[in-house]
Structure formats: structure tokens, C-alpha cells
Point group: D2
Chain length 339, copies 4
């Protein structure tokens, strides 16, 4: 940590700051410049509150050198995390394809879509039972019945199921789910983060619409601090001035997170734009940029889906896309082999 | 609602769309242009799902004419809502000044700060007992003990108390609080919104860091749909590309919300920027722009506050600011009288 | 165009608006709803000023149905534009790879880099002679001498040259350049746009850092309105709240522009992030998402480049990347063949 | 400047970096930590290129301590700059009110509006002769004739005139103008900045729609580096995700710039939102937050203005607003006197 002192600061204040830091076993290197004095703080600076130091009268600026997250940090965990879910793995060079409807609406629909996406190449079945919506007048999901339909789809296909948790009081119902998803509106719902950190199912953590990489990783850190290290990060677009699309997919998040963390990174091209006709290009782009997988909304009849219809691909568009994603993934492996 | 059909759409698809709409008692006016056919939908269009219609093959675009919120809409409730809290009112031409520390730390601190802000002109005492933080390693608040300190401060000063709720399971503890605050991270935590909608204490609803006016009002609608009409909206800065300040205060939210809704609007200049030395100018600007009040972090010793030190004004800076705000409010009333 | 009138508007004002529109040969369809009256305007509405109509007392809202650009609009020009530059083509299924240094620094450097990028597979040589910089104290480019070095590189390799124009007074010097680039800071420098519209060299038009798709296409329209239809759009990242990267690459711009316009679309992954180690993933993602090409900063010695060193790939990283991009492009063509 | 080296860097690379810096008369203080080595650079670091150093193999991060602007920096010029324009002053505790139409349309209109705004309390007359527009099909201004109308308005009223320059080739025509305005689209048109830096008329420099404070001050620095120190900064809203308003007024820019620079800061509430009914609140807020003035679009007939009608106040709304702004400014001076 680097502390820049104000020009003409009071030397006795500087002395008392330095004493206070030394009590905390921090070593201080002082550089006296013409305009500013700079303190280089060495030791376990993760215990220091940056904002508190920045608020001191004599301090002009504080700059952190170390990232504030530890469990999620690749520096302390260099190897990629690979997460086993049923018979499939997320990370480690595998291509995960999660597909299914925004909301499950009936057992027939759930089973039919699950069979079709499995046939196309999907590795997990996703579907909503408890939906988080912007409007109190929108469809809220089937709740517990929805979870039963998801399990029926798993029984028929063997695909692990992924579904969103919106309230800690639902957690007991999720005992038989394979992967718990935390949605974008709840990325900083810390009570929810702590709850999924104290159980051991893998968690898909969607990026908040306006979360920086660091804030997103701090939310992963909340989960991991509770003991659950099976976190899958899911980029789903951020909010920008461009309103033609619902959000702006941040493609750079893939290689940036690859460097900052050992956790797997997948991409949701459906919510990233809010338009089904953009899903194909964005899914292909995400895989070519190195994503560990994609999460795609697929519906047998998007025009009559009870929620998020405009995002969903029809089954007959999903099948060729899944084929292209698998072919692309194979082609990329081939290129790596040559390089 | 206006539905723009694609050029060269299939006439039989158009017929089936029109029949489906008529079944829902919607009247349709058709305008056939050179490039596009436009359907004007008249009737109770709030029951229609914009996204679902937009996903139909023959539809190019759907444009809503009516706002999706009702209870919060000034069109259906033209008079300003005025909220009684203890002996003080929010809205209706009053200037509400909520002041106090980010976290209450002890009974002595809470009482001392409450007495001082009351003497300066504050009308409510705010303080955190359950804090929502970005980092799992930051200070989390005193919890139930913090609530007791707040009540002690109220007992000593008579100031109503405002404090943040972060988890529905805490609600029982809040029975004796005067105003419940929903923080920016929880603006779309719909379970929390529904919970505070089913009780009758006034709610301060902070704007989500990346929430549009409409999304913010939809969150108010969640609370009001449960029966609680006592919602105070609090602008606290939005996330933009400018990173010198923590957020960007959106001053226009004050007159925009005045037009869209009948609910009172206050401003939090402390969190809007993250720098205590900007609070004075922003609080003055907010009051001059017509805000019903401000919420200001005040601390007896900001450099040693357990959280958000850099935001907090010292007591000796708050007192003259409160004086200026009251003088400004009086001067503005005088100008209105003359105009 | 759709005009929504205010509830309780004055009928005589509505009559005078309708008469005024009819004089302009606009046909009006009126839908009277419970809350609002809606006018559907049919005819050549491109002559109408949306803002002027929106400012009328009786108007609540105006919604445009037609895009405001014509020459750039795919609706009026369904086939892809393919632009011939020397022996190479931009658009039409070709993969354009523009590569070279931010600034040309010497004839030796220019020729050496041009030879190397050609060997790797680049189809054009890019390099700056007149650089647009944020700081008045930064390096400004070699100017006219820089143009001479670029031409020397073309003479040696046969690669067409692309270079940035920053001032209309330089235009005479650009007579022998193959493609003129308009930089992000100048996307709305309308005098520059008009100047390159009145000559016939192809133009690479970079997206402004905060330009919407529509504003970007309106800038293309400026160039095309002058008679020059050879415009290549270049996505180079937009400004968002995420400050870890210099900008956020907007991957969706590729399929969105493919739908809105017939002009070719390329991507600059170097400026999109400001970090050389992100270029590989973003370039791959862009090609997989359907871009017509990429523009990549390449330098023989980035650490000592006179400008934008952190963006530039070293030659020994560019060569395998160009190979991967060509292999990816071939693989994608193969998949299309099968689909 | 602070340079953070990568863990496990090569010591000989560090030695060569240190030698290179010493040749430039930079003193280096080295702090060796457990994870990182930090170099504190002391001396004239403004000559060093941050990006170049950041690109070195052994460097993890570079953090600048000094701002990159000098002439505009309050640290090197502590007193406020006060700019004399005709009989009026900008800065120094004065309230500047620039008012007038987006475009001057006739001599009669210009004179009539100028007389009216003067009577209301305006201190300068603003009006466009050369307008910068997003669409090539929009109204472009009256050009040289417009300048003549502006001068006629000055002759009749004595108000200094402010008008926008969009092209360096127009500069000769501006010899008789009082204040030159650089618009938001041209904030980084460096050729224009250099041109107005080499003449001595005061310049209103509008903030670019997506410019940071630092970039804006770097553009002021371009002008000042040419010798012209009379720069007035004008906040006019930044681009954010909120699309209800055209831009988001950044109120914090006023106190932030007050600290960073000695130049006067005014606010344009008309372009900040694009809606005339928001101008009153935002102008009041800006003055209460400490702005040195405002720039307001005023038109005798906004609904028929040739451009930007929705922004403009009618004369009969401007007069009471100007009265309120002057009363507010007087009231604020009174409060200061007491404090």
C-alpha cells in the first residue's frame, strides 16, 4: 500500500501515523519528493482500511498495490479451479453449455426442452422456478412446483440442473438442485452470498449490472470465505449508455478474470443484449475469446414464453448454434496444439 | 401501446395478433405506411407483456406510451405525498435533514452525535446497525446492540431514527425503529421490498447505483403494491465513467421525479461522491434544485470511524452546513412567495 | 413517426398541428385512447424535426419509427458493401487484417514492421504520421516525413497503407494514401467528415468513445452524403464505468451493425482495452462474432515505442495471432458451408 | 510517480530501469516488500511517459502522483483566475449569466432576445452562427450572416457576445467576437484547441460528453500551452446509462474543479438534460453548488426554433429564473458573510 502525504503536512502527524502503522507490524519506506512525501507500506496490509487512512488530514491519496480478495485470487492459487457437476466438469478446458427456458412452465415443457438441448450438445439444463423480476406485476415463476419439473427433466436426461435462488428462506428447497445460481440483482445481496457460502453446491455468480471486476470478485470472496470454493463466474453484460441492447457484453472480462482469478468464467449472451438474434454471434465470440462455457435461454415457443421471450432462442436455432460452438471449441483446441 | 410491424409481414399473422388482442378487450387502430404498418393499442394495456409482443415474428418494435407503475404515478395521484414521522413531516414543503454516523459504535457516541445534529437543525437521526459492505472482511455493524444505541439516542433527543434493513429475518427487530432504509445494493432485492411493503413504517428507498428512474419507481411500486404508501425516494449517485468521485450525483432526478411521482425525494450527498469535502456544495445544490431533504453522514471522529470515514463530515463542519441549508430553504420560500 | 398527445390537450392546437403536417404531405392516422391520443404519421417523415415536434405544448412524446440515416441504411441497400483497396477487399466474406505501429518512427522501422506483418498474413499496413493525443506534451507523430515512411513500406511490400487524418488542412498530403482513418476523438468533427466525403478514398471511421450506434451511423451518413460510399466502420471500445480496461469492447456492435447497415465492420482490439495482453482474446472473439476484420497495433519494440506502447503487440506475438485468426476464419467458413 | 515491479522480476532489468531513470535526473527510493518491490520516483516526472514504463516487462503497475496538467493546475497558481470580458467579469465571485438562442435566425430575433435577456439580468449574449449537429440533414446555422446579427445585438445592448467555433478556417471571421466557445463534440479536436490557444480571446471550453475531469483539464492545457490563459470551463452533462434525460449534469464537477484548477467554472443546464422544464431546477442547483455562472438557451419561440427547440426556455420563463438566480447568488453571499 502506498500513502501519499499532502505537501506541507505536519511532521508530528506523520510521526504518529508511522507509529500507528508500526504497531500493526507494517514496515514503512519513506520517499521525500519536492512536492509530496510518499510512504511505502510493507507487510500484511490487508488488515488496513484504505478509506480510513485516506480520510486522515495529512493524507492526499492512498493507492492499494494488492488486490483485496484472497481466496479468489490467482496469485495465491495459480492452478485453474475445475468444478465437478454430476458427470460433467466446468473449467479445465471443457466447454460447458447450460441451456433451457427462463421459467419452467410444465413438466412436459421442461422434459421436452431438456431432451432437445441434450441432443444438441448441452451439458446442463437451466430453468427458472423462482424468478427475480423488475415489475411486481410480472410472472414470478412456478416456485416449488417448478423445482419438481426441473428434477423430472434431470431424471429423464441425466443433465444436471441449474436454477436461481432469490431468497435465503428458499434454501431448504434447493437441497436436490445441482447448481445454485445467484442473479445479477442479488450479486451484492450479502445475506444470500453468505448462505450459499455455507453449503457445498456449486454456485453460478452472475455479474451485477454495474459491478466492477473487483466488486464481482469480492462477492465471490463472500461465498468462498464461508467455505464453498465452487464458484462459477458468469458475465452477462453491463449497463452502459448504449440503449439499443439491454446491456453491453464485456468480452474482455474473460481474459481479465483468467488472469485475476482461478475460477471458471462463463458467458450469458441472452441477457447480455436482450435480443435473441444477437445470441449466435455473441456466443461464438465468447467461446473464441476463451470462455469456459455459455448459458443460453432456449424455449420451445419463445413468443408464448411467460417471461423473457425476446431473449430466448427457439430450439431449431439452438441446435445448429450448439453444433457450431462445439466445432469452434474443437478447432481452437487444434490451433493450440499447433502453436 | 404502439406496435410497429415489419415491412412485408404475413397478413394472416397480423390477423391472428389482432384477434388475440381483441380477446383481451384491446381496441386496435391501424396505420398503413409505405414502409411499416403501425398498430395503436387502446384499453388496459398494462396487462400486456411488452417483451412477449416484441418477440413475435411479425413485430419490428413495441413502444409503451403509459408508464408501468401505477401507485407511484403522479398521473393517478396528483397531490404530493406528505409522510408523518414522529413530530416531523417529509415532503409538503418541509426540509428534512437526516444526519448521523454510518455505523453506531457505542451508546455514548450515538447520543452525543444525535444531540449535536439536533442542535444544528437535523430533523431525524440516522445510523447503521446492520451494514451492507462490499468486502466480507469489513466492519458489519453492531447489529441488535446498535439498534439499542439508536433508541437511546432517540430517547435523549426526541429525533426519529432511520436505519438500514439488509435481511428480511431482521424485520422483527425493527419494530421500534421509525423509518426503515433499503440500501442501494438491495434496491432490487424483491423479497426485502415485499417484506417492507407488508408493514407500515415509512421506507427510505435508495436508488440502485445503476437503476433508471423507471426501475427505481418499479421498486417503489413493489413496496406500495403491498399496501405501504409511505416511500421516500433517496438519490445517492449513479455509476458513470467518471471515477474521481465514487458515484455521480444525478441532480436532474429531483425535478424529474417531482413530475413522475407524488412521493418525496431526498438526496444523500455523502455517498454520491465518497469525499467529505464535496458534501457541502452538493447538499446546497440539492436543496436549491428542490429536494425535500438531505441525508448526511456525520461523525464525531471520521478518521477513526469504523466504516465510510471518508464520507463523513465532522460535527464542526455539519453545524454551519445545516445552518446554510435552513437559510437557503427559507430564502427559496421567500422567492416563491414573490414570483 | 408516432406523436403522443398530452391528455386533455386543446383540440384546436391538435387541428393546427394536423394541418401543418398535411401541408408537408404527411398522412395522419389518429387513435383516441382513454388516456392519450396517438397520431401515426405516414409519408416522408425524414424531413420532420423530432425535437421541434416534441417541444410543442400539446405533445407528450414523439417516437421515430424510421432510422434517420439513409445512405448507410441496409433497408435501402440490402447487399453488403465490398470495398476494393489495392489488391485486397474489405467486406464480402474476406478477413481484413490491418497491422502496424501507432506511430511510424523511421523508414527502417516502417519497412521492417510492414514486411513482418505481411509475412504473418496482414492485408494492410497501418501507421500513424499525424497522431491525436490527449496531452499537449505527448508525441505528435512525424507528420509529412511519417507519410513518406509509410509509402516506402508500401513500395517494399505492396500492402495498402492506412493512416489517420486529424485536420482538413492535411488533406492535400494524403493524396497518395490508400485508406484515410478518422479517429475516435474526431467522429463528430463534422468539418473533417464533410472533407473526406468529398474525396473518394475509403475511410475507416472509428466509433466515438461515447457514440451510440445511431450517432456513429449518422457520422457515416455525413461522409456518404458527400458522395463517398466507401466507409469502413471500426469498433474500438466504448467508455463505461469499468476502469480496469481503458474502454469496453462492444462485441454486439458487430451483429447489430450487420443488420442496420451494409457497410463493413472491423474491430480494433488494441485501443478497446489499452492492454496488449488482452488483444489475442478480443481479436479472436471479434472474428468469431463475424467482424470483417481487425486492426491491431504491432511494434518491433513496444517498450520503447514513442506512443501507445502498452497497446502494441510485439512482432513475435502478432505472428501466431494472425495465424490463429486466419485459421479461425477458415474454420468458420467451413461451418457455414455445413449449416 | 510510483512504479510497482512484478514479483520475481529479473534484478538486472531493475538495474537497467533505475539507470535509465537516473540519466533523466530522477531520484529513486526503493521499498522491498514480501510480494512486490516499489520504486518511488522523485524529480521532474512530467517528462516520463507513464504508458511506456507500464509496458516494460518487469513492471506490474505505475501510479502517477502528480497531475499531468500544469498551467491549469491550482497547485501552481493558487489564486482564482478572473476573466474580463467587456464590462463584465467571469470568476472572482461574480455571477455570469450567458443567455440566448441556439441559432440566431435574423437580426430582429437576435436584437429582441438580447434586449430581453439583458433586461432580465443576463451579462452576456450567446447565440450560434456555426452549429455543430449530429445529422447532416439538420440546420447548420446562418454562418457569417449570423455573426453579423450577433454583433447587431451587441451594438444595441452592450452585452458581450459568445459564439461557437467549429472549424479553424472560420477563425478569421471571429475577430470581432468577444468569447469563443468550443463545443462538446470538439473538446478533443486538438487542432481547434491549438488555434484558440494562439489568439487571446477568452474561450468557453465545454466538457466532452464522456470526458473525465483530467481529460477536460488536458484540453484546457492545450489552449493554455499556446499562451491563452483565459479559459472558462463549462459543465454540460455527461453521458450515462440514464436515457430519460439527454445527459446527466455532474454537479460535483463544480467543487472538484474548484479544487483542481484556478479557472472559472460555469454550467449549461439546457444541454445537460435536453428538456426545457428541467432548466430552472438545475440552474438553481448549479449556482447554489458554487458555479461562477450559467449558460441558458432562451428563445422567443422555442417550438419554432430552427434547432434545439426542446432545450430552450421561453423569454417569459427566463425572466423569473434570472431573477431567482440573482437573488440566490445574493443570499449565498450573505450566508458567507455570516459564517
Amino acid at each position: 500500500m502506498i500513502v501519499v502525504l499532502k505537501p506541507n503536512h505536519n511532521p508530528s502527524q506523520m510521526e504518529s501515523l508511522i507509529s500507528w502503522l508500526r504497531e500493526k507490524n507494517i514496515t514503512i519506506h519513506t520517499s521525500v519528493g519536492q512536492a509530496n512525501t510518499i510512504l511505502g507500506l510493507v507487510g500484511d496490509t490487508s488488515q488496513l482500511d484504505v478509506d480510513l487512512i485516506a480520510a486522515l488530514d495529512i493524507v492526499e491519496d492512498v493507492k492499494r498495490v494488492q488486490e483485496p480478495y484472497k481466496n479468489a485470487n490467482r496469485k495465491f492459487h495459480p492452478e485453474d479451479t475445475v468444478i465437478q457437476v454430476g458427470n460433467t466438469q466446468v473449467g479445465g478446458g471443457n466447454l460447458t453449455i447450460m441451456a433451457g427456458p427462463c421459467s419452467v412452465e410444465s413438466e412436459e415443457q421442461a422434459v421436452a426442452v431438456a431432451k432437445a438441448v441434450k441432443a444438441a450438445g448441452a451439458t446442463m439444463f437451466r430453468g427458472g422456478a423462482f424468478n427475480s423480476r423488475t415489475s411486481p406485476y410480472a410472472f414470478w415463476g412456478m416456485g416449488e412446483r417448478g423445482l419438481a419439473y426441473l428434477k423430472a427433466a434431470r431424471d429423464e436426461t441425466g443433465l444436471p440442473i441449474v436454477t436461481e435462488l432469490t431468497d435465503i428462506n428458499q434454501l431448504a428447497l434447493f437441497r436436490d438442485v445441482d447448481v445454485i445460481q445467484i442473479g445479477t440483482r442479488n450479486m451484492q445481496n450479502v445475506d444470500l452470498l453468505k448462505a450459499v457460502g455455507h453449503q457445498d453446491k456449486p454456485v453460478v455468480l452472475k455479474r451485477g449490472r454495474s459491478a466492477t471486476y473487483e466488486e464481482w470478485l469480492m462477492s465471490a470472496e463472500y461465498i468462498m470465505a464461508g467455505g464453498n470454493e465452487n464458484v462459477i463466474l458468469c458475465e452477462r453484460g453491463i449497463r452502459t449508455f448504449e440503449s439499443y441492447t439491454r446491456n453491453t457484453l464485456d468480452l474482455a472480462s474473460i481474459p481479465v478474470l483468467r488472469r485475476l482469478t482461478h475460477l471458471p468464467v462463463i458467458v450469458d449472451p441472452s441477457h447480455a443484449t436482450g435480443k435473441y438474434w444477437l445470441v449466435d454471434s455473441l456466443a461464438m465470440g465468447a467461446v473464441a475469446a476463451g470462455a469456459d462455457g455459455v448459458q443460453i435461454e432456449v424455449h420451445n415457443d419463445p413468443a408464448h414464453a411467460l417471461c423473457d421471450g425476446p431473449l430466448a432462442l427457439k430450439l431449431d436455432a439452438f441446435t445448429p448454434l450448439a453444433g457450431k460452438l462445439l466445432a469452434l471449441h474443437a478447432a481452437l483446441k487444434g490451433m493450440e496444439g499447433q502453436a
